[in-house]
Symmetry: C3
Subunit: 318 residues, 3 copies
Amino acid sequence: MLGKENDMNRFFSQSFVTVEHLTGEDVTLVFRKAEEMRTLCEEKGGDDRLKHKILAALFYEPSTRTFSSFISAMQRLGGGVIPLNGMSHTSVIKGETLEDTVRVFSSYADILVMRHPDPGSIANAVEYAAKPIINAGDGIGEHPTQALIDAYTIENVFGKIDGLHILLIGDLAHYRPTNSLSKLLALYPNVKISMSTPKQVPMQEEVTSYLKKKKVSFKEYSDFQDILPEVDVLYVTRVKKEYMSESLYKQVKGSYIVDKTMVRQMKKKSIILHCLPRVDEIHADVDSDPRSLYLTTQVRNGLYVRMALLDLILRKAS
Amino acid sequence: MLGKENDMNRFFSQSFVTVEHLTGEDVTLVFRKAEEMRTLCEEKGGDDRLKHKILAALFYEPSTRTFSSFISAMQRLGGGVIPLNGMSHTSVIKGETLEDTVRVFSSYADILVMRHPDPGSIANAVEYAAKPIINAGDGIGEHPTQALIDAYTIENVFGKIDGLHILLIGDLAHYRPTNSLSKLLALYPNVKISMSTPKQVPMQEEVTSYLKKKKVSFKEYSDFQDILPEVDVLYVTRVKKEYMSESLYKQVKGSYIVDKTMVRQMKKKSIILHCLPRVDEIHADVDSDPRSLYLTTQVRNGLYVRMALLDLILRKAS
Amino acid sequence: MLGKENDMNRFFSQSFVTVEHLTGEDVTLVFRKAEEMRTLCEEKGGDDRLKHKILAALFYEPSTRTFSSFISAMQRLGGGVIPLNGMSHTSVIKGETLEDTVRVFSSYADILVMRHPDPGSIANAVEYAAKPIINAGDGIGEHPTQALIDAYTIENVFGKIDGLHILLIGDLAHYRPTNSLSKLLALYPNVKISMSTPKQVPMQEEVTSYLKKKKVSFKEYSDFQDILPEVDVLYVTRVKKEYMSESLYKQVKGSYIVDKTMVRQMKKKSIILHCLPRVDEIHADVDSDPRSLYLTTQVRNGLYVRMALLDLILRKAS
């Protein structure tokens, strides 16, 4: 819970670091605001509600789509941006701590969007910042805005999230979006989560413990094809090469590839998600399937959800 | 031909990848719009006609001036930008295809301006993008916006392009702006093109074939000084070190240098162009010559022509 | 002196490369404008006075805070930015001279903010630019905007600068902000400057000569702790690793560290400044001391002073 129940301003001036603090009401508020943003974008492209606000995008790990969608979101709402992508060449190498950096940017910007390789680093940074911080990925920790995007995409297709069967496959050990999505799904009592990973890269124990504590129904499968016909959502993840040794990468690489034949077994009303970039874990012949939302709807929703969060955090509802 | 003849909206929502598709009417429309942009810049610096539109500048090869002039052009018209310069550190190294990247950016931006090392890559990307793409240089392929800038600069000085004698010198083998300019000049039946290159780096056969097919009068000279007194436009190019072996670079480097003595042989009413950066192929003592437009007029026209293209592509004339 | 005495437009269209050209009236004008910016930021976040103006941030050396504060400042005043941070991958490696670069950017932007590793390079660039340039640091030369920020911070706390005792400690040999601050303090006849450096990295002779010529009272101390109880301002600097050999760095590193015990000896009404990034030269236990302004007030003033300069240079007072 970020703010008070039924409070339109529960996100106002608050940092957003983990989905663990979200209530169902929080999620509903974000979804409703995202719908407003969709309409705004479709009708006018944007407006000036965040005029004279500045977003600092501090990405210690390089990023394309998270970085770019926040940059686009802020400008579509009339705000300005400080774009720092791949900060390894700046103050970091001069030896500055993350604590000092966020204190400094609190003077320049109204909101900080940060990516950092160390899990927990963003949560720590919040303690030192005078302005709200959005976690845009902390190593193999969380990626909470992506989880909201994924949940919003599911909700939009099925009209609900509760009761659905979601299958997560791939390198879940290093995949922060599925960490966040799994924890977010714990808000829905009748969700069923299935997981299938190469045996070397199972979902982190920290996440499965959380799910157990929240009494979420989840099960692990050695071969995801066995349950493909039952699932509503297939969530495919990339092998996170940059977080593993070369030898582990060689073992895991190419061990799960979703292709047209497999997708044929899925329900007619089901969807395929992937938070991208995609390497070879979904074959290109799946792209044109109407159930494949990863290159279109899911990405577009990324813009709406991030616009929604910026608006909720930076502007007080009257 | 991009749109219908005599249609003010021939560029609207269209990609711009090669000059080969341009008609004389297209070019005239761009020039007229560029004049409007010149007046706008001189009188007010810009306006808000592209407000709430977003341009994604996706430069896989690093760039200074093309990148910066598009960034400036978009903001002078009130739009926002996603500035990605030198993308080698992002999704590319994670293994994403160009096809996926442009599909993703179609969700974030209203127009994509792309530079990529592979000739033909931008034309291919257009097939996958849901938004228009401007080719900002595809390896040793084309640089169509630069050709329009160069042609606009020529037209502005001489009041015409047809009938002029244009001399291209240097490393034409690797120089995309002169590829595009040569092809663009094919629209004018009485233009005369001369070329002079070190023998190792002649104009690509693909371009000379195009010129032959279009019946353009062109001739190659071993020593450009022989015809300097006859030309209206001298276009000097840089040795594209980044596209050749070290040994080839050593052979070609410094083999053509334009200096004050040579320029003295040129007509009083003639001009010298170079699309920059310049290394040593034009001696600094030529810079102050009133015929040297490469550091001033030609650059400034780059801003106007790119503003013109953004306006024509993103806004429907009523 | 940049413009005429008592002239509100003394900065208009002028470059700002060194504090040596500033008069007391210039400084007062900047401070008054900075106050206006503080009010503007606090009340509205910014306005649109620089709409349709473009700032090109050309940083040949990477930068976090100077770059970001200028980017924020320009956008808070409604202007646009061309953000080029760490330009080593662009035209520079293609062999372009700084002279050509600034001529080109004079066509794209209304003002250039530049950082470059070579002292004097920005002053030289001004000769070739058709638009005003702000020096954002030229190697171990000057950092004039930082000096104004520091002086403004001092003035704000003490209500004056003249008569104060300012102690500069650390690697003054390579620290451009203290070069500029020392020269700026020469405007105040009764200022007292003390310096304490590791013996290997004394203040540059060029700066001490300037102070002598201007008859500024300054003195060097081997142990800064001896005079800590007397000073009004303690200015701590970082060891500029990037400007020295590894062996020199090892000698100097950690040779001066300000901690809580030392700060306890300072006057109640005194302040501690540091232009950041900070490594270990100020212990974290000093951060919470109310006299420590380096992570808060001094940084925030950076935004106001840079907004002030942009407004004074880009907009003619009527």
